[in-house]
C-alpha cells in the first residue's frame, strides 16, 4: 500500500534506464584495464630503476690473448676511482650462463669474440666524474666503453610516459563517453516520464525532489554496471597475469612482460572505479535533470 519515498517516477520500468548498466559495464571494464596497465607499468618502471640504480657496466673490446692485461688495467683504473665501491669482472662461466638460453651449452664463450664485462657498483657518498673516468679508461684500455644505462633508462622512461599518456587518454575518453551515455539516458527518461514530472511540478515538488529520483536510479544502475565491468576486468587481469608469468622462459629474472602484482592501494584504486562510475552517473543525471526542469515554468 505504501509506496517507497521518491519512487513516484517509474524509472525502473524504463527501457532506456535498463540499458544503462550494459553501457557502463564495458566503460568501467576498459577504464580498469587502462588503469591496471598504468599501475603495472609504473611498478615495472620502479623495479627497473631500482635494479639499475647505482650500477654501471664497463665493456672492454674482445681481447686477443691479452684478456688479463686489459682487465687488470681497467680494474686498476676503476678501483682507484673514488665513488666506485666495487668493480667485478664477469668470468667466462658467468658469461656462458648469460648466453646459455640463446646458444645452449654446445658453444662456450671462449669460442666467441665476446667483449669483456666489468660490473660496477657506485656509492660511498663521493661524486663520480663520469667524463674523467671515461677518458682514463680509454687511455688504459683503448676501445673501453662505460655504460651508465642512462640511454636505456631514458628510452624506457619515454616509453612509459607515452603509455601512461595513452592510458590517461583512454580513461578520459571512457569517462566522457560514460557521461554522454548518462546524459542521453536521462534525457530519454525525462521525455518518457514528462507527464509524471509535470504533475509533481504542479503539486509543488521542488526540482531537487524530482532530480533525486533520477540521481538515485543513475547511482544504482551506474554502480551495478560498474561492478560488472570491474569483475570482468579482474578476470581478464587474472588471465593476463598468468600469461605474463608464462613468459618467464628465461628464468624468473628475465620475464618479457612485467608481472601484474598490485599493492593493496592499487587494488583499492581499481575497486573505486565502480564507485566513481556511480557517482559520475549520479552527478550527471542531477545536472541534466536540473537543466531540463529549469525550462519548466
Amino acid at each position: 500500500m505504501i509506496g517507497r519515498r521518491h519512487d513516484d517516477i517509474p524509472l525502473h520500468r524504463d527501457g532506456t534506464a535498463r540499458l544503462l548498466p550494459w553501457l557502463i559495464a564495458p566503460m568501467v571494464y576498459l577504464a580498469a584495464l587502462a588503469l591496471a596497465g598504468m599501475l603495472a607499468l609504473g611498478g615495472a618502471m620502479q623495479d627497473w630503476d631500482r635494479g639499475l640504480a647505482g650500477t654501471m657496466t664497463v665493456e672492454l673490446p674482445p681481447a686477443q690473448g691479452a684478456r688479463n692485461v686489459a682487465l687488470a688495467a681497467a680494474l686498476g683504473v676503476l678501483r682507484a676511482t673514488p665513488g666506485i665501491t666495487s668493480a667485478t669482472a664477469l668470468d667466462r662461466a658467468a658469461e656462458g650462463k648469460l648466453l646459455e638460453p640463446w646458444l645452449g651449452t654446445a658453444i662456450t664463450p671462449d669460442e666467441l669474440q665476446l667483449p669483456l664485462l666489468i660490473d660496477l657498483h657506485i656509492g660511498g657518498g663521493g661524486t663520480l666524474d663520469l667524463a674523467a673516468l671515461k677518458t682514463r679508461l680509454a687511455a688504459a684500455v683503448p676501445g673501453a666503453q662505460l655504460d651508465d644505462h642512462r640511454l636505456w633508462l631514458n628510452r624506457i622512461h619515454a616509453l612509459a610516459l607515452s603509455v601512461e599518456g595513452t592510458g590517461l587518454a583512454i580513461l578520459a575518453m571512457v569517462g566522457a563517453t560514460s557521461v554522454l551515455t548518462v546524459i542521453f539516458a536521462t534525457r530519454a527518461g525525462f521525455a518518457v516520464h514528462r507527464d509524471v514530472i509535470e504533475l509533481l511540478h504542479a503539486i509543488g515538488a521542488r526540482d531537487s525532489y524530482i532530480a533525486w529520483q533520477f540521481e538515485s536510479e543513475a547511482l544504482r544502475l551506474g554502480f551495478g554496471g560498474g561492478l560488472a565491468g570491474l569483475i570482468l576486468a579482474a578476470i581478464t587481469l587474472w588471465g593476463l597475469g598468468h600469461a605474463a608469468a608464462a613468459t618467464a622462459v628465461l628464468g624468473e629474472e628475465a620475464k618479457l612482460l612485467p608481472e601484474l602484482h598490485f599493492a593493496l592501494w592499487q587494488w583499492g584504486a581499481l575497486a573505486l572505479l565502480p564507485v566513481a562510475a556511480a557517482l559520475t552517473a549520479m552527478a550527471t543525471a542531477r545536472l541534466t535533470v536540473m537543466r531540463a526542469l529549469a525550462r519548466l515554468p
Partner: protein, 218 residues
C-alpha cells in the same frame, strides 16, 4: 487571493487564447468558471496554478506578484493550490493510496501523518476499500474521487477544479459539489471550471464566463 490584471496568453507564435483577463478571487470565495469547450477555461486554470506564464499582464497569488518571484519560490506557492485535473492525471503505477499521498510526500510530511490523513480522506470520499487499487482498475467516478482527494489532501488555500463532475452521474456530481462547498465553508477558495451552466446556476455561486478567450458578463 487571486488577482489577474489584463492577462493575455498565447502558445508560441499562435493567436492569443486568453485576452485581457482581469479578475479578483477573494479569500473564501466560490466561483464557477463557465464557457464552451475551447473557450480557454483550462488555460486560465493553468495560469493560476503556475503551469504556464502569461505572455502579458499581471498575476498575483496570495498577495505576491508572481513575476517578481524567483523560480525556487514558486514550489511553496504551488503547494497552497490544489488542482483537480480534467483528465485526473493519476499515476498508473501507484496505488490509489500513494496517488492521494503524493502532495504530502512532496512537501516532506512524516509518513505516520501521511498514512493517517490519506486513510481518513479515502474514507471520506467513499474509497476506504480501494486503498491498494491501481487507477486502471477503478471506474471513472472512482478515479475522479481519487483525483479530488489528492487535490485536497494538503488542505490547500485555493482549490481549482477542471470539469470535476464531468465523469460522474448527477447524484455523485451533487455529492462532490457539496464536498467542495464544505471545504469552502472551512475557508478554502474555490474556482470550478465547468461547461455545465445549469449546474453552476443551480448552486447559486458567482460565475466567471469565458467566451473565445475573454471574460464576459455571465
Amino acid at each position: 487571493m487571486v488577482r489577474l490584471e489584463n492577462v493575455g496568453m498565447r502558445y508560441g507564435t499562435g493567436p492569443e487564447v486568453l485576452r485581457d483577463i482581469s479578475l479578483d478571487l477573494r479569500p473564501g470565495s466560490f466561483r464557477f468558471l463557465t464557457g464552451a469547450s475551447g473557450a480557454g477555461k483550462t488555460t486560465l486554470l493553468r495560469l493560476i496554478y503556475l503551469a504556464e506564464r502569461p505572455t502579458r499582464g499581471l498575476i498575483s497569488l496570495f498577495g505576491e506578484d508572481i513575476s517578481r518571484l524567483q523560480r525556487r519560490d514558486l514550489a511553496p506557492l504551488r503547494r497552497k493550490i490544489g488542482v483537480v485535473f480534467q483528465d485526473f492525471r493519476l499515476l498508473g503505477h501507484l496505488s490509489a493510496f500513494d496517488n492521494v499521498a503524493l502532495p504530502l510526500r512532496v512537501s516532506g510530511a512524516p509518513e505516520t501523518q501521511v498514512r493517517q490523513h490519506v486513510a481518513e480522506l479515502m474514507k471520506w470520499v467513499g474509497l476506504a476499500d480501494k486503498l491498494d487499487a491501481r487507477p486502471a482498475t477503478l471506474s471513472g467516478g472512482q478515479q475522479q474521487r481519487v483525483a479530488i482527494a489528492r487535490a485536497v489532501i494538503g488542505r490547500p488555500q485555493l482549490l481549482l477544479a477542471d470539469e470535476p463532475t464531468g465523469n460522474v452521474d448527477d447524484a455523485m456530481a451533487l455529492r462532490l459539489l457539496h464536498l467542495f462547498e464544505g471545504m469552502n465553508r472551512l475557508g478554502t477558495t474555490l474556482l470550478l471550471a465547468t461547461h455545465n451552466d445549469a449546474l453552476a446556476t443551480q448552486l447559486g455561486h458567482g460565475r466567471l464566463h469565458l467566451e473565445n478567450g475573454e471574460l464576459v458578463a455571465a
